[in-house]
Amino acid sequence: MHGEIDLLKRRIERERKARQQAEKLLEEKSLDLYRANEELRQLNLSLEASIQERTEALLRTDRQYRSLIQNLHAGVLLEDEQRRIVLTNKIFCDLFAIPAEPEMLIGADCSQSAEQSKDLFADPEAFVLRITELLAKRQLSIREELKMADGRILERDYIPIFADKRYLGHLWRYEDITEQRVTQDLLQQSEEKYRGIIENMNLGLMEVDNNDYIQKVYPRFSRLVGYSEEELIGRKAMDVLLPDATFRDVLNEQNTNRIGGEPGVYEVPIRRKDGQIIWVIISGAPIFDGKGKVVGSVGIHLDISERKRAQEALEEARNIAEDARQAEKRFLANMSHEIRTPINGIIGMTHLLKDTWLSPVQTEYLDAISHSADLLLALVSDVLDISKIEAGEMKPTERPFNLTELLTDLTKNFRLRLRDRPLTVDCIVDPEIQQNVIGDPTFLRQILMNLLGNSAKFTERGSIRVQVTLLDRLGDFLMTEVSVTDTGIGIAPEHLETIFESFKQADRDVKMKYGGTGLGLAIVRQLVNLHGGEISVDSVLGQGTTFTFTLPLKETSVVLDANNPQPEILTLSLNNRRILIVEDNLLNQKYVQGLMTKWKADYTIANDGEEAMVYLSRKDYDLILMDLMMPRLNGFDTTVRIRNLPESNNNRDIPIIALTATAFAEEQTKARVSGMNDYLSKPFTPDQLLRLLKRYFPDEPVTIPITMPIDSASTTSNETFRFNPLLDIAQLESLYGQDYAYAHIMFDLFNSTTMREFGSVQKAIDTQDWVVLGRLLHQFRPSMSMVGLTDLANLSKQIEKLIRDGGEMDGMDTLLVDFQRLLTQKLPLVEQERERLKSVSG
């Protein structure tokens, strides 16, 4: 019994322990389970979150796509690979007249849709066939145009959709382009219409690309150039049509403009296929593409060959007329010259005749002859002036001068001339014009002489006034206005218009009563214009006349003879001055030498540039007078050498004054460029040289009065001697005054030098060696002036100019005949004069 109880106890004990073991295991398992569960839950949560996120993103994208498709301007249909509708929009439903909302169609089968909607299209069978073909090929196809039965035009895109290589469906896009097409058609129609009009207007149209290759040719153009359309398309327009290389530049420039979007009109000669050259006027315009980019140009061609021929004929006619006018001018100039010579003879002889014993009637007749001769001479001089101006031989040369001085001088002169009349002559200069000015004083003097002369002629009482007003100042540039006002007879309004034309005086009565050439005002206007101004006239008949002209001037700080307001009493001593005279002409040497001696200058004479350089290396000088044309080393080159002397040589920067035989403007410019400071045209009067020298020696003390005005009898004792009027008396008097001894030396010198050289001149004429002739005349011309052979000098100058200009030598024969005739006539006179001078100078 006891054993059994023990056994049971052990058994229960074992069972209890086993249960405890099992419970423990159970707890562990439960815990494991709980943990696993927890992990799972977490995993689930994060999974859910990411699923949520993805779902939302998908939804968003989906909504965006849907919205995009709904709002497209085109009908869209997206089908899956089984041809079930994935997506479509309202426009699609409208286009195909589907009576349903697009959302309702999702999932619908499309396999029969082509068949169902084919009747909407103009060609139903073709529509179905094409759809079948597209679906079979599965290849992208865009912008297909479909005509609908109701006339609308649709544009269709078929877009197959592949993911990698797997076909997922496709997208249809249909757009109604009817309106676009209509606009386009209208545009094209309008374009065609205008092209048609242009074609009918005889205008040839051609289109080229940006590289000038022909793109399109219209029939009228084909006919114009004689090439067929096929012969032109694709070729470079310039190569086919433009034979003349000089016009290629024109075309290239035009093409460049065209690419820049600029239109243009131009004329070129083009070659037809048959070789004929025709002139066309081309109006070219750029062609723009839809984006505003230039893709080529269109040219409208008009045949202007006829017009061109007419133009050329006109041009030719004009040239002939111009030649004739030139010939006329030359004739006039020559005639004037021809006439002047005998008139000088008449005047001279009249003067000589006056010295004989005459009856009062004879004196009266002689006065009449003298008056007429004077008038004739004035007329001829004016004609010469006019023809010179018109031939462009007269050009203003700028130089500094004192305006007030010039005007004072002039008015004083006239006051003296008109002192018998109850008349005042005044001049007023704007006080704003203080300094010296730059302009052409010779021109101004001549203009004012004419205007004042005019006033003097027509004004008996009252006043004549010259007034200068400053209109405007721009830096040193001055625009002035000069007026000459008188209280004379005035000009009738109907004559004011023509007053400045040649040979037009106010009227016949005026001509009868007052005389005159009728050229004065024409010359004035020409001179004013040459000087850059304009002239006008204002007049009241019976009350007076005002001539007003503008005169552009420049202000300069160059001091002329500010200390000396009275130019008549020029004084100068060259006592301490060393002057180098570089001159090869013996006569000129002597002339300058005489003046230098008079003015007590310390001078040296060099016969040419080489010699001058030697002197300059030995001694310091104050100034050089330099001839330009010299053997060995000429004046220009000598000047360049002087200006390039070492700095140690003081002569390097001294003033050099050119003595030029010609008044040619280019020679003066050349002189300045080579480094010369000033120039003086030969022949020059002592006065002219002195004024120039004073500019360089302004501080010299006033010592000796040196001018020799004609009426100021000063040094000479022989008052009865007068130069032969057949020579240029005015010239001789201005050169020598009454210093006949000095004149005698010069005539003597001419006789022993130049006179003998005329043999070689004759020889050059005989052998027609123009180069030698030109050189000789250039050399002797100043000498001729020195002995009063002004007309011979002038003729020499004409011949020289003709040789210089080269070319045909038109009129040379006439000039040479004149020259030889004058020579024979005048040389004995010079010889005579020399004898006369010898007797008076003792």
Binding site: L7, R11, E13, R14, K17, A18, Q21, L25
Partner: protein, 180 residues
């Protein structure tokens, strides 16, 4: 080794003999676990071997007979506890084939640490099944009992040829040929 093997072995001994013998064997064996087993626990295979050895000495039984009997006993327990496995199979061969494919897979889900024998089956023809047994435990006799019990469960008769392929008895081939 799973605790159910211990509890059911002791259960069978108690049924065949008495709890006194069970108590005697446990006391004699002086086992590390103290002989207290729960079906869901896991214990050393040595303890089972010790108990089998002591029982066979005590009752003068051969271990293979004991193990075959134990196979029969355990099969009955399984049919009661896990009927689901048996309901899904309609023949003995199907069940035998499902041991490796289904039953062991589920056992491992519950007890990931279980050390199970392997049964590789191969149908030679409609009525013959070859079955390979591999186990470190060398308990092919126990497997033999289970096979016999299976055939009986499905009311099938078959000859079972046993061929030991190694010396220790870890690799044994059963050839089951159904009698028609």
């Amino acid at each position: 080794m799973k605790g159910i093997v211990f509890t059911e072995l002791l259960e069978m001994i108690e049924q065949k003999h008495s709890y006194e013998l069970v108590d005697q064997l446990i006391e004699q064996a002086a086992l590390p676990s103290g002989g207290t087993y729960t079906a869901v626990g896991t214990y050393s295979a040595d303890e089972l071997n010790k108990l089998v050895q002591l029982y066979c000495e005590e009752t003068n039984t051969s271990p293979s007979v004991l193990l075959a009997d134990f196979g029969h006993h355990l099969f009955v327990v399984f049919t009661k506890s896990y009927p689901i496995f048996f309901d899904t199979c309609s023949t003995a061969f199907q069940l035998l084939e499902s041991i490796e494919q289904t039953i062991h897979v589920n056992v491992l889900k519950l007890y990931p640490d279980a050390e199970l024998p392997r049964f590789i089956t191969k149908r030679l023809d409609e009525n013959s099944l070859e079955m390979h047994y591999f186990s470190e435990r060398r308990m092919s006799a126990f497997a033999y009992g289970l096979i016999q019990a299976t055939l009986a469960y499905y009311n099938e008769t078959a000859t079972i040829q046993i061929e030991q392929l190694d010396e220790e008895g870890k690799d044994v081939r059963f050839l089951i040929i159904k009698e028609i």
